[in-house]
Symmetry: D2
Subunit: 337 residues, 4 copies
């Protein structure tokens, strides 16, 4: 039984605490820390059977009973807590992104050097049933050699401007998942990026120097071409699709819905909208990624999303931003790490 | 070039005249007769290049240039005109049903005896792309031995009560196509029928001694069981589906639409309603059935829907009516011919 | 926290034990009993944190800590254990069917009389996301007045002949769920049944006096007509669909799949087969029905599937069998209770 | 009755001759010319009722009976014959592209100046039922302001290298339709293009200086971003889709098939592949575009695809080629005309 300490009891921390309790058989949530831990949260945590509830995550790091920590705090703390946790000899599951600052990521990499510790990054969509099916079709040769890859990711609602301001920009905040998807599905590195983008959903986002709509073309090391389509706001909800085209055929995945119900009436033949947002859509994948992390610890095997895989989408995001700013294709080799 | 005379310039007569002109290369509409031929109709007929336009169909029967006639007049005249046309040595394409009166059908059969003439009945749905695909899957063994067969047929609007009164009842008027579909798709005769029905769309239809909604179970000679689902009025339009289930799988066909467009918005994910009614839905099949009739004449081979195939659905309709009246399964052997 | 004792540690007992542990927050599995409890089962039970593991279910009935029992033993013991549990003052969740013997069901009803105890029957499909969507569309008036209802239920594999012999017949064993679905979805009682059936999957099933294929027509108290389509073996897997047609439209639900993946290649455009069988397909519904049972206890409100709702499908099954044997529609009033 | 002379009796000339004969009521094919007219072609033409069959198209241009000509000859002759036809006072329907040479197109434009003649270019996809549905949804405001537009166009088989050599390159030969679709669907001009492409289907195509796979990003004058996805060879056939995303929703169209048949068996749930190629897929649009051309002549109103609309996709194709060659986004203003 792997004893996990969760650092951060916000939305994603709670998702993981509940996911582990209900769905990860070989682990338990031994402790949880949050500087703003209030009574409601304490009650919720006790309800899940979590023994140790604290405000200072150092209590978790210092507790020799804790095998692994999950870093679910705000993005700007991920790297530093990672380094402390590694120093304390804990396995680490770090929510994405590791950092917006490449130097910080390098520090975490250095800290990991020579340590026999697992470090997994929270790219949960790799563990989603639909995207797994695309990956499986590619790996098994069902579509032959990959020629083109489409990733469509649109959110149901644009975030508030306050969030936009601190988000690091759409590419680092939202598209980062899609950059990871391109790498995961294709099994290939990205060599060049061209991004076209605009603030079409909300022009005030442009005032913040950001965009809310983008078409991003990526040239891959294996010769294939990928394209990502992003919008911060789709009127019909959370649109999460992928399509991989190869020499022998195509594999495509669509959206999940609450039910398969189709209503036929005078207005047409209407199926349901996609599941509302990432909590509804990706819950199973949050549980599955932690199961894999726990398996990697127990069986001492590589984690499925290591720190290099955590770094790569950040580099692509930076290349995409440079491409958008300079209106030209940008090689990944231009982004220094 | 087969010269065809069309008897009856109502809706279906016009459909055939236009279908032959535009889509039947080896035939032409040489003449058309209708007792109520008016100026508009004459102009329409001339526009199609029809040379002979008359009010008395005997002109067509007496014209030695005419190779074949298509009987598109009112149902109660089908049999008598058939007999006259056979006597005149014409090949006959007769719209369905041949007659509501079994004795009349026997007379037509007798008239055909010993004559080297083609006689085809207008069960056009056999020539529809979707139902042909179901038939092909069954014939080719794709679904193995047939176990169950579903035919769904729902009209977009209930007919006026005046029509209901003279229609011969829903089974003879509407379900007759589905009885034919069951025989065509299964390749088997029907041995017993059980009909459950009610007037749920319009209770006044019950006052006329008819129904507008039915579930009809048919036991087939090959051991399979079929079920027909009928409604005189589907709010979403003309619903024409079939599903055949066998030992190796299932083949199902759905509705045709104007386009494949799917609109996703705050209300859901909406595809189009089915094509409005039989003219829109089955136009290609009307042309195809006549092409087959013309081929049968030219190559002196059997017609695809002969008089026995035209009779069978009428016998099933009579068994279904008896079943409904007596609330019990009725064997086809109970219907004397 | 409702303390539940599970009687029977076979397939369905295990499903409930795991479902409660992972998904029913207000209850726990306090005890489990099975006369054939072996070491593997004990280890599994301990892994779930079940404190009391025994071979004699009377230990559970006699334990004052136990609030409720779930009867997951073999069908022929359901009624007697129900009566004992009621006598012991326990709330009861009884797997379907309560009994194949109507007199036994009456005894359970009598035992319940005057006792303030909850008694729920395990018709889990009422709690399925797809069928809930159909029910919701009907209740909310989306399809207007109900005219016709289709329930399609086909298993992926025919059971072994040994099972067929003791199953009580396909109607009591398999169709019973569909009889319940007809009542649940329509919100109406059944007044008459006509069953057409045959052993088409495996003729040896006919030698056992049973069938494996059926089309069953049901006339409902509200005037609508329902039809159930059953096969013991669909080559493409577990086919679980429903379609409700009314004056304003239709609501239809299809099968669930592992993913939404669609592969397009030289062979066609291929989506996945349905989820394999009832454990894969209906797991969420097993958890949801127990949550409702627990809520009913805690809030002292009616259970969603009471003993009368548990009895009704059995009466319909008996009418269907009589219809099949006598080849005539059978009124529910003919089945004496 | 508009009398049309068809110049060129190759594949597309035949398509139009048959389409007009069967589906364009207000026009007839009065004459057809082809320098390589052989006996089979003559017999085919006579079968359609074409009176004048010749080898020299000047006979058509000189015949005062001819109202309009359709230029279906090889691409390199389109412009010169256009100019001759205009001089002869004929309305012109010219197959796409007008010319690969911009100077030639200018000559045609000059020839048209001051003449009261119709000049339509054969961008038939604008008349396709699916793409019309997308356009209609956008025009009617169903999806709000357009943000993103996807056009997917993949051929079933790569052309032979001999064809590739003289095709003018994939952008001018194949993508030209998609460039037109982007303009037609969006109702907007293109201001900048970025093309990523490679020869992934057949590396020998690269030896010819061409590509067979491309992702092309287009910035539109209305602020929206479009992306075209092309492959010369899709294993599952002719893939012709579009998806338009806006502030209020999305409209998407998929492929047409021979039937709606879906086969469910042990291999999965399989629908049909798309209609094979452009003749099967777009036949109705070929007829519709000529009907519109004929209406424009009769009612003296603007043609739906005028010479400027015929020019625009050629300019975009040239910008796309420049983008591919120089690996940078190219503004349309860089292409001099």
């Amino acid at each position: 039984m792997i004893k996990i300490g969760i650092i951060g009891a916000g939305r994603i921390g709670k998702v993981h605490a509940e996911g582990i309790t209900n769905g990860v058989k070989k682990a338990c949530v031994y402790a949880i820390a949050d500087p703003f831990m209030n009574d409601t949260q304490r009650e919720w945590a006790r309800g899940l059977g979590i023994e140790h509830i604290c405000t200072d995550y150092h209590e978790i790091l210092n507790d020799p009973e804790v095998d692994a920590v999950m870093i679910c705090s705000s993005t700007n703390t991920h790297a530093d807590i990672s380094i402390e946790a590694i120093a304390a000899g804990k396995h680490v599951f770090c929510e994405k992104p590791i950092s917006q600052d490449l130097a910080k990521i390098k520090e975490v990499m250095n800290a990991l050097e020579g340590r026999n510790l697992k470090y997994q990054v929270g790219f949960n969509r790799r563990f989603d049933h639909n995207f797994e099916a695309v990956r499986e079709a590619i790996v098994s040769g069902k579509i032959g050699d990959l020629h083109m890859l489409h990733v469509t990711a649109r959110d149901p609602e644009a975030p508030p401007l306050e969030y936009v301001r601190v988000s690091g920009g759409m590419f680092l905040d939202m598209t980062i998942h899609d950059f990871d998807m391109v790498r995961f599905l294709s099994g290939s590195d990205v060599v060049e990026v061209y991004a076209a983008g605009a603030a079409l959903v909300n022009p005030k986002i442009a005032d913040e120097g950001d965009i809310d709509t983008a078409i991003i073309t990526l040239k891959l090391a294996n010769g294939a071409i990928a394209v990502i389509d992003n919008s911060r706001q789709a009127a019909y909800g959370y649109d999460q699709r992928a399509e991989a085209f190869g020499s022998k055929g195509q594999i495509a995945v669509g959206n999940d819905t609450v039910s398969t119900a189709v209503l036929s009436n005078a207005d047409g033949v209407t199926a349901e909208k996609p599941l509302y947002f990432f909590l509804e859509r990706y819950m199973a994948s949050f549980i599955k990624e932690v199961n894999c992390f726990v398996e990697a610890i127990i069986e001492d095997k590589p984690v499925p999303v290591d720190i290099k895989s955590g770094l790569a989408p950040i580099l692509i995001a930076k290349a995409a931003k440079k491409s958008l700013d300079e209106n030209r294709p940008v090689a990944l080799s231009e982004i220094k790490f």
